[in-house]
């Protein structure tokens, strides 16, 4: 029994998987609409950098003195901690996914499997966060937003993202094939 049925849209719009290209098209339209209305491209990591900012502040640091936040991300200093543009969009994404997951009854808590998985995850996260700040965005903000805005940084980021992803993939494949297979 094949799981993928894009034909009976009525029945499956809420529950069934959508074709990849349809999702890409809709996301593209949403991205453009977002840009039209709010005049700002969609970005995910700016909001997360914001969390870092607030976290460090609560821990006693003074990130508002850092050149990065003063010059580049300066709107951080004036907006509300929780109810700001970047955060609402990110929170919306989280709740949107949760809604979709629950509607198809897919929700399940999946625990961490091993310490190595945990270390890899945290390391990968740190790499992503660091890289995203250096390039002013992640694959959504810098790659998608940058290229769509016709900025050179988007293209440069894209090329090197491909290189980095290829390297990382080879590492993952080596790890799985040598260490994980029974």
């Amino acid at each position: 029994m094949k799981h993928e049925q894009g034909k009976t849209i009525n029945k499956h719009v809420l529950i069934g998987p959508w074709p990849y290209w349809a999702g890409a098209f809709i996301l593209g339209l949403l991205n453009v609409l977002l840009f039209v209305i709010f005049r700002r491209p969609w970005g995910v990591t700016a909001g997360i950098a914001r969390w870092g900012f607030d976290l460090w502040k609560t821990l006693g640091g003074h990130p508002e003195r850092w050149a990065y936040f003063r010059e580049i991300n300066s709107d951080i200093l004036s907006s509300h901690t929780f109810f700001n543009q970047a955060n609402i969009l990110n929170m919306g994404l989280v709740f949107g996914v949760m809604l979709a997951v629950l509607l198809s009854s897919h929700f399940r808590v999946k625990r961490v499997k091993s310490r190595s998985q945990l270390i890899l995850a945290i390391a990968g996260g740190i790499m992503m966060g660091y890289g995203a700040r250096l390039a002013f965005g992640c694959n959504i903000g810098a790659l998608l937003g940058g290229i769509a805005s016709q900025s050179l940084h988007g293209w440069v980021f894209g090329i090197f993202l491909f290189i980095g992803a290829s390297l990382g993939t080879l590492i993952v494949r080596y790890y799985v094939l040598r260490k994980r297979l029974p």
């Binding site: 029994m1 799981h3 009854s105 897919h106 929700f107 999946k110 625990r111 499997k113 799985v176 297979l181």
Partner: protein
Amino acid sequence: MAKERLDVLGEVCPIPLLMTQGVLAKFKNIDVLVVETDSNQAARNILNWCESCGFAFEIDDLENGVWEITIKKGNKCIF
């Protein structure tokens, strides 16, 4: 008919598909592989791969968020 079970619960893609391929490549006597995964994306990845290789497959929702994919190995894909 040699039937094996592969448990990749808790693994995120690309690991489930990598392991599915790896197991089928390493243990050539397996005819039927039953993969248990709890990642929606990984399940879809595996199904797409089976489809491209021409393997017959069946998918079953075991419980909330757990899928069981039964793959009948064919001869086509060399990996």
